[in-house]
Amino acid sequence: MSLKAFHVVFIAASVMLCLGFAGWSFGNYRELSSAKDLYWAVASVAAAVGLLVYGRYFLRKLKNISYL
């Protein structure tokens, strides 16, 4: 597996972490009604979207490099 392929796996794991963190923060917001938790949730979803956009850019930029 090349660095390109591992990077794709890493970005996918990071996106899942961001979404998981957003879910965790939103759960806290529902439980404690702290606005800070809501900001964390929104920021995490934004980070997940940002990583997905970056992932697309990365795959386009390195389209000539092998996954092996």
Partner: protein, 284 residues
């Protein structure tokens, strides 16, 4: 004698030798961190139910600084992006961009370690206090009018040390109570930090948030310190390739790009460990 397959793929594996080597090494690393993650989970599920420190052996939650941990996660994700862009820059024959991305990666690596050392210091100066009356608290202490300094191991106290130093009493600032589920959180409300004077003879246990205090701190420091050592090792290798080792680019650019790829694979592994470590240790 020339070392074979440093940049040409070996016919039987289809890969250059260093790539096979790094994946074998990473397989052993997965076993190492896998064993530690399993230990963490087993220790946690076997801990008694209840809220620590009220229940002595219960698993402490909410002790780690989540904003700082989140920031450090973002720092490591950024460093993985820049290390792969550095490798891509070499593939596109752009050495200047390679060096720029490597410098950003190094700043992130040492930034992560700096932030982690601040977080460790927060733990070394934080205490669990149990009184003979049965009450238990977490908070900060002041002994003989002094607070602990940064990474000041000499000022870590326990009950035995208080007795040895003949300290008659300490000042203790307890942490504010955690909001209970369903309890509305008052934004901006000032937490009361009441300073109590505690006599030594009333203390049943006093210990900082260090390895010996609780299995949680034992496994937390072992995993995060081992991860930190990997970050340091990776940063030293990347630093070598960014500066003194970069002269290889002129002699053998293909082999140099492969070295960066191998270092980048290790770096990604270290960052991926953190991606799993952060939710397990900080959030759950």
């Amino acid at each position: 004698m020339e070392i074979p397959y440093t940049y040409k793929p070996r016919p039987d594996t289809g890969l250059y030798n260093a790539k096979v080597g790094i994946w074998l090494f990473l397989a052993s690393e997965i076993m190492l961190f896998g064993a530690l993650f399993s230990s963490y989970i087993l220790l946690r599920v076997q801990a008694p139910m209840g809220q620590w420190p009220t229940v002595a052996g219960a698993w402490p939650t909410g002790l780690l600084n989540i904003p700082i941990g989140t920031f450090n996660t973002a720092v490591l994700i950024t460093s993985s992006v820049t290390v792969v862009l550095a490798w891509a820059a070499l593939k596109m024959n752009n050495f200047k961009a390679f060096r720029r991305y490597m410098v950003v990666t190094l700043v992130c690596a040492f930034g992560f370690l700096g932030i982690k050392s601040y977080e460790y210091n927060e733990k070394f100066t934080h205490y669990e206090l149990r009184l003979k009356s049965g009450e238990a608290y977490t908070g900060h202490i002041e002994v003989n009018g002094k607070h602990a300094g940064f990474w000041d191991f000499g000022s870590i106290y326990n009950l035995a040390r208080l007795e040895k130093d003949q300290v008659a009493e300490i000042k203790f600032t307890a942490d504010p109570p955690k909001p209970k589920p369903g309890e509305k959180h008052a934004e901006g409300a000032a937490h009361t930090h009441e300073v109590k004077t505690i006599k030594r003879e009333d203390i049943a246990k006093l210990d900082a948030f260090i390895l010996r205090n609780h299995t949680f701190f034992g496994i937390y420091f072992v995993i995060t310190a081992l991860h930190g050592l990997h970050v340091l090792g990776g940063a030293l290798v990347l630093g070598y390739f960014a500066f003194p080792g970069a002269s290889m680019w002129k002699r053998n650019p293909e082999q140099f790009a492969n070295r960066i790829e191998v270092a980048g694979l290790f770096w990604h592994f270290v960052d991926l460990v953190w991606i799993f470590l952060f939710p397990v240790v900080y959030l759950l």
